[in-house]
């Protein structure tokens, strides 16, 4: 059974290997091949403004937005807006009364 391994010894051991400089040859054709690949690509994309960042999202969310507009339009046409406003006004008066009552105390 071996004793506990020292992490620092391990690190030193492998760092020596890791830092070992090797003379690796690069093929003369490599640069030409890379440039040929670059030439075959579309022109490098230009810097885009902040607004264009959202462009892909706009088109992706367009159907959802349209569906939401339709649903909300139908829902609004079915609501009794005047009635709701009346109920709200009634509660707002009561709220004022409640505050007035609290101030008295």
């Amino acid at each position: 059974m071996a004793g506990r391994l020292d992490w620092n010894i391990l690190k030193k051991l492998f760092r020596i290997t890791y830092r070992e400089e090797e003379d690796i040859p690069i093929s003369d054709l490599w640069g030409q091949q890379t440039m040929n690949r670059i030439r075959g690509l579309a022109p490098a994309p230009v810097r885009q403004g902040f607004a264009s960042f959202f462009e892909p999202f706009v088109w992706r969310l367009a159907p959802v937005t349209l569906a939401m507009i339709l649903i909300l339009s139908i829902a609004l046409s079915n609501f009794d807006m005047v009635g709701d406003a009346e109920v709200f006004r009634l509660f707002s008066y009561e709220l004022e009364d409640a505050y007035a009552f609290l101030d008295l105390e």
């Binding site: 071996a2 090797e22 690796i24 690069i26 490098a44």
Partner: protein, 206 residues
């Protein structure tokens, strides 16, 4: 054939030599041939980065992929950044992607260690100082042992081990190169160190 060691880095800017930013601007203005200047300036540096992470037979492929990615992302390069640092990050991330693909396809060979390698390891870990380890020599065994252990880590842990524990970069530097948060990199560094230690402890026990 050209040797990497023979390639000298040009200074960032002299009177006649255009700066990196000027070349980038030329490429962005529709002159892809100007990219050859960037290639000539930084191929030595990119090879030096990728060879620390990849097997020899993949160096040219991944170095080329690094330059292609750099070309496609040139519009993201900011004037305030160092081009060399920006390119290094692309090179490191390309290496990381290479390992991720290999691990996903389960292409990492899980070799068994030979008696000779185990014997060398036992001898090496019982040494006291760095000088003794240097004197021990037989770096081939060390390299094979390291490859054996790294094959048992994930792509993420492999990158962290190489950058932080072997190359000696700080957590912040490694995080910048990998595009991860400092906290994530720190946690990974800690866990990968524990995993590596466990692997070598197991090797020694066997």
């Amino acid at each position: 054939m050209t040797r990497i060691a023979e390639k000298k880095q040009l200074p960032e800017r002299t009177a006649d030599i255009p700066s990196d930013m000027e070349i980038v601007q030329r490429v962005l203005n529709g002159d892809p041939e100007a990219f050859a200047e960037i290639l000539g300036r930084y191929e030595g540096h990119v090879f030096a980065v990728v060879r620390k992470h990849l097997p020899r037979d993949r160096l040219e492929e991944i170095a080329q992929e690094t330059f292609v990615r750099a070309y496609q992302s040139l519009h993201n390069f900011h004037r305030a950044d160092s081009f060399k640092q920006w390119l290094s990050a692309i090179a490191v991330r390309t290496c990381y992607d290479y390992w991720r693909k290999r691990y996903r396809r389960k292409e990492i060979p899980m070799s068994r260690l030979s008696e000779k390698q185990l014997e060398w390891f036992d001898q090496a870990v019982s040494l006291e100082s760095a000088a003794d380890i240097e004197a021990l020599g037989r770096r081939r065994e060390a390299r094979e042992l390291l490859d054996h252990a790294l094959a048992r880590l994930s792509a993420e842990d492999r990158m962290v081990v190489k950058l932080i524990h072997l190359e000696g970069l700080s957590i912040k530097e490694a995080a910048d190169l990998l595009g991860w948060s400092v906290t994530n990199t720190k946690v990974r560094a800690f866990r990968s160190r524990k995993k590596l230690h466990k692997i070598f402890t197991r090797i020694r026990r066997d």
